[in-house]
Symmetry: C2
């Protein structure tokens, strides 16, 4: 897919050149020349395309957050993180698809469902590494959640070692100590704190 | 460079296969098979290598934070962010190089220096997108900072539109509203909040 099909031309932004240098189902490298509001003559850049993603904070009736500990091959470590995943979609996903993906990841990775009286609260989105990646990650809180009768249903490619509940104070301590160190969980914590939800 | 030269084999982790599918000065795509503690037979993965990076919160004598507004080609937007940049190093950078890079980015992008009596406080690191990228970003707060006599010295490839100070309350509002939406700034806000620094 071409870079300008993935990214609409906003006012002042326009793709002038685009070469796809590598692509597989997980990432595509585009060598582009893009006209920007401050660079009307165009600037050359390396852009890596990734599907949009979602991350979700499952909150128990007691007000605790469920995190999973997952092996992450690129960084060679098992990290405590909120459930997250990619959104399968050709281009810009719609609201309904984004919400469905967040609830699916929560069920598969943390083994829980939004309670019938529960609320799925959107917390906007963030860019994980906007100097190189176009990845856009949508953030949610789900409260309260209840255990799924079937338990978690991990995908074969994932390696999830544990799932457990953290009180907001425990979460804060592990962020302060540096143990929690993935952008997804830090971004949700930042938004929830700024919104007075934690 | 081979993936196992970039990432030491920790106990239980070992690169079994490694093909470099694309590389330029900005990113390298590795198709790897890695043995992990939970997957002793090895798992195939696409890993994109990026240099380590740093992000720094310049804090004025009044307790405000300096942010820059910068055009980001991969996401086609100008974002308000803390100063940040890559660390030029062959492999794992040392403490002195990481600190020097953070202070250099602060000087170049926000036009300020650590005051003679100032403190550079390390806030650990985070992984921006550990499902695909190995990028590791080191976080700092610098307090207090003073204007650099020469002003900012932007690199030619960067397009920085503005630099201004935000009170902690303004920063919180713009995070809550979703206007501040890059992982670097959200990660620093999360760590500083968890540590009681904001």
């Amino acid at each position: 897919m071409r870079f300008h099909d993935l990214h609409q031309n906003a006012p002042g932004w326009q793709t002038l050149e685009d070469t796809e240098a590598f692509a597989n189902p997980y990432a595509a490298v585009h060598l582009v020349k893009v006209k920007t509001p401050m660079r009307p003559e165009g600037a050359r850049w390396t852009v890596i395309h990734r599907k949009a993603a979602c991350v979700i904070a499952p909150i128990t009736p007691e007000g605790n957050l469920l995190l999973i500990r997952q092996e992450r091959i690129p960084v060679r470590a098992a990290l405590w993180e909120l459930p997250a995943g990619q959104i399968d979609d050709g281009g810009a996903p719609g609201d309904a698809e984004i919400r469905a993906a967040a609830l699916r990841e929560m069920r598969e990775e943390a083994g829980c469902l939004l309670a019938p009286e529960g609320q799925l609260t959107p917390l906007g989105f963030f860019f994980s590494s906007p100097g190189i990646l176009d990845e856009q990650t949508f953030l949610f809180a789900a409260s309260p959640v209840v255990p799924c009768p079937d338990g978690p249903a991990h995908e074969e490619s994932e390696a999830i070692a544990e799932c457990r509940a953290f009180t907001p104070a425990e979460l804060r301590e592990r962020i302060a100590s540096g143990e929690i160190r993935d952008a997804n969980t830090l971004a949700v914590f930042a938004r929830m704190t700024a919104l007075g939800m934690l």
